[in-house]
Subunit: 327 residues, 2 copies
């Protein structure tokens, strides 16, 4: 097997990519601006130019086993992005097909949270785990579910949208997906900021957060205030952990995972989030599962995680057919 | 491969068992009273006597490939019943081990809902489906989840307890599992009867159900009243279908199944349940999954379904070791 894979993390703002070896070391990496090109083919051209430069500079030509791409709503089965609100291109985008044609290499794609799960299983804290759920707590809440050592793609390739389980059936917050009460509307970085704003409006207590313009409060502000001992900011994390724990208890009755693995900005909140999360999981857990699922933190270096996650898919590619039989 | 398997459905009241061929025909069946024996070994003795009689009467000796057993809380990995409130025996019960020793045949066990899912996949409406969720709507709500053609047992063998996802986080009904607000407390036969009682107490409208002693109302009474045109009884089904549809929408974001397959008493309520269920699923479904998962009804003959479900596990057994190496 060739010794390297390419990992590409296609995000709404930036596309980061790198060359990765079998031990999960990112040999070299770079990035381009995703939104710079109004046309997807122009984007592919720039990506090709930059990646080729990287490959040649690292003497990796003819040593690439495959390319893995993590991208919003990318479908493992079809290779396409069928609907992506944050990208400037017309959908469906034939992501795997176009990249494969351009590079002459086999390509696998999936969404970023699934890529993170595979990355964690290949290089990270999930090595050796056969049943776990990866939860990414970023701007949104993403998930990648692994059951019996296999990523769950579901019938249509879109399984594992656990950010959109309904946590509040009455008077729930509007979610980006158009429904209300989704986990993502509460337990993402955005959700934490929304909770802080709600608390500040409804309550009277003093808080460091009152020194900030209310509409500009971020989850980072809430974290900083909580670390400084601000009681209201701490309660925002209690509220977030409570809901996340309820969700984890429900997910456990589905697939009984060994662990939930957390990744993303909020996952770095330490005991501010972990203490209420563990307490809520325990309180809401069905008795036969009590104390069983662990909560683990991603072990992938944050700067490399997106590339590593995507790259792990590159090991699983099927070789390209050597002859094209289009009569 | 030997042409027959034995299916045993171990229930709290009765144990039914039969000899099944590869096409899913129950060649012969019988039953014994589960609760008659205070001692599990005595129960196994009676089961052995009765089953041996059945096997000999049908000339099936030496033609049995394996035994499959569906039983409450039976664990596929350990072969044991670790905790079963409805059985008279001390747990853990080494179900697979004791039955295998007695019969000299390999044995697989799982819980009844998982057995139903495997039965449906082997002989029923799920033939050819790789991603589906079996939901049994009986006294409780059970489930068996199939992903990529494999039953989901989870890390510990207890996965697929979808009757215990939380549907009401505030003021939810007490569930048999000790928690509150579980799906089972609303969408089981018992749940339907509870809903009817709640409606009768809270509301003033006339209803045929008011002719019955309120504490004795069953889901069958509610069904009969609804079929007779009783508006309140119909609303009980609307309420049940609404909650079940909410639950199915949430389950869909987990594994994106091709179908939900319904089995059990309530599943025979026809459009009374199906119409509000479909409407609720559609209203609550995340847009990328909208219209995708079908609702199907079990195709297994009810009298045979429990035996067939259990028997399907019998095809998957590993042969017994022929020599015992206990030095």
């Amino acid at each position: 097997m060739k010794p390297y894979v390419i990992g590409i993390d296609l995000g709404g703002t930036n596309t980061v990519f790198g060359i990765v070896d079998a031990r999960g070391v990112v040999i070299a990496s770079s990035s381009i601006k995703t939104a710079k090109h109004a046309n997807f083919d122009d984007y592919v051209d720039e990506l090709y130019t930059e990646l080729t430069r990287l490959i040649e500079a690292n003497d990796a030509k003819d040593k690439i086993h495959g390319i893995g791409i993590g991208a919003p709503n990318a479908n493992y089965y079809t290779g396409k992005i069928e609907d992506a609100v944050n990208l400037p291109w017309e959908t469906p985008i034939d992501l795997a097909g176009k990249i494969s044609d351009k590079f002459g290499l086999p390509v696998n794609v999936t969404n970023d949270a699934n890529a993170a799960a595979i990355g964690e299983m290949t290089y990270g804290v999930a090595r050796g785990l056969k049943d776990f759920i990866m939860i990414t707590l970023g701007t949104g809440v993403g998930s990648g579910i692994v059951i019996n050592g296999q990523l769950v793609y579901g019938h249509d390739g879109f399984a594992g949208e656990l950010g959109h389980v309904t946590m509040k059936r009455n008077n729930g917050r509007l979610c980006g997906c158009g429904r209300t009460g989704c986990l993502e509307a509460y337990c993402s970085a955005t959700g934490v900021a929304r909770t802080a704003r709600e608390f500040l409006e409804i309550r009277k207590e003093p808080s460091l957060l009152r020194n900030l313009p209310i509409d500009e409060i971020t989850s980072k502000d809430v974290y900083d205030a909580a670390v400084s001992g601000d009681a209201l900011a701490k309660e925002v994390f209690d509220y977030t952990g409570e809901i996340l724990g309820q969700a984890f208890a429900d997910m456990t009755v589905f697939s009984s995972p060994q662990a939930f693995i957390l990744f993303g900005g909020l996952a770095k909140s330490g005991e501010l989030l972990m203490r209420p999360l563990r307490a809520s999981m325990d309180r809401n857990m069905m008795s036969i599962f009590k104390g069983k699922p662990k909560i683990l933190l991603s072990e992938l270096k944050e700067a490399d995680a997106a590339i590593l996650g995507a790259s792990a898919l590159g090991w699983e590619v099927k070789p390209l057919a050597t002859t094209v039989s289009q009569a």
